[in-house]
Amino acid sequence: MWLREARAIFEKEIRTEWRTRVALSGVGLFLLGGLTLIGLAFQGRRVDSDGAAALLWILLLFTAATGLGRGFVQEAERGTALALRLHARATAVWAGKFAFNAALLLALTALATPLLLGALSVDTGETNFGALACVLGLGSIGVAAVFTTTSALVAQSNGRSGALLAALSFPVLVPALFMGVGGTKAALGVSFTVSAWSAASGYITVLGSYGAIAVAASLVLFDYVWND
């Protein structure tokens, strides 16, 4: 029952996004612009894993802020939130929106990572791609969970400003960003004394825990955010 509600909302998100392409065009433009600027700035010079990890997470963070922050705000601005509140359970609404945001961010991460590593001529000889996928996947899920919830908080405020989204999201995202950058560096093969997987596994554990806590806390708190 609950899963069916969440799935219906997830499918509605995909259908409405496919028809309007509001989030897709926003994040697509940001991603393309970011990658082009980075490529022009470095002009084929090799960047080490520290720089590559930082640039990758900057790109992912701002892409997420551009694309994932609109979901609930748009529902509130258009008046569709009222109908959604009447017919669906709060946690199912959150889960459907989160599933859409996570899927979008995971797809963008999968697209952006090889392009960025290529643009920065990063040496991937020591890279553990499984560990890199785990770090980026779990990090994206945590970031999507935080942006989904803060988007709902912003939608309930009268100002509904982007500044509020940033102010609410950033402090909560700091641990995920810290672990994401560290884990990405480790997975890219920064350490010459241990394997990339060993170096990244601690970060992966923390990112997995962060994502689980972000999802659980959002599900517990969302009823108050949505209905009050």
Binding site: E5, K12, T16, R19, R78, A83, R85, L86, H87
Partner: protein, 206 residues
């Protein structure tokens, strides 16, 4: 299913502004209650409170269906059909897709969406995106959604808004049909003709 609604001393404040001051009402299924009062006196707020979309500052709401208690906001939301000017449907989806989406969310996908749209005069336009609907057509779609699930409690806030004469006729027929089926209908309106549909009137400003 018999429905009974009991409102006792409902008050609502938005900050320092008091909108409702101790509204009490007792009503049963098969009844139409016109909720009247000047602009800004809380007719829409009262309906939102009954629908479970707003919490009252003070007061009690009781909703019983076949003598079972359904008073919590979550239970009330599942048992109301609701029409309001600020309730919007998804403009990218067609009228039919909107009904199908909300039916899927409620686990009632087996409903006859074509018939629901025919009854409000949207039969030929069910595949068009709601974004291209006129105001009157959007209102008809809200009415179709509110009556789709045969809810025992129907909350209608200015239901005749933007409707043409044919639309008003269809709306009145639907209201009478739901009344005969045993539904309790609260009708918030400023339209004197519309208020006459009520078996009695409650003035929220009194």
């Amino acid at each position: 299913m018999t429905v009974a609604l009991e409102l006792s001393g409902i008050e609502k404040r938005f900050g320092a502004r008091r909108v409702l001051t101790g509204v009490s009402l007792s009503a049963r299924g098969g009844e139409i209650v016109a909720v009247t009062g000047p602009n800004g006196t809380g007719k829409s707020t009262l309906l939102k409170i009954v629908a479970g979309l707003l919490r009252p500052t003070r007061g009690e709401i009781g909703l019983a269906l076949s003598a079972r208690d359904f008073s919590s906001p979550e239970q009330r939301r599942k048992n109301v059909g609701y029409v309001a000017p600020d309730l919007a449907l998804y403009p990218e989806l067609s009228g039919r897709e909107n009904l199908a989406f909300f039916a899927q969310v409620r686990g009632e996908s087996g409903r006859d969406f074509g018939r629901a749209l025919e009854r409000v005069g949207l039969g030929g336009r069910e595949g068009d995106p709601v974004g291209v609907y006129s105001s009157g057509m959007k209102q008809r779609l809200r009415i179709a959604l509110a009556t789709l699930f045969d809810a025992p409690l129907l909350l209608l806030d200015e239901p005749g808004l933007a409707l043409d004469a044919e639309g008003v006729g269809l709306l009145e027929a639907l209201i009478r049909e739901r009344k005969e089926a045993g539904a309790l209908i609260l009708l918030a309106t400023n339209d004197a003709r519309e208020a006459l549909l009520g078996d009695r009137a409650v003035d929220v400003a009194a």
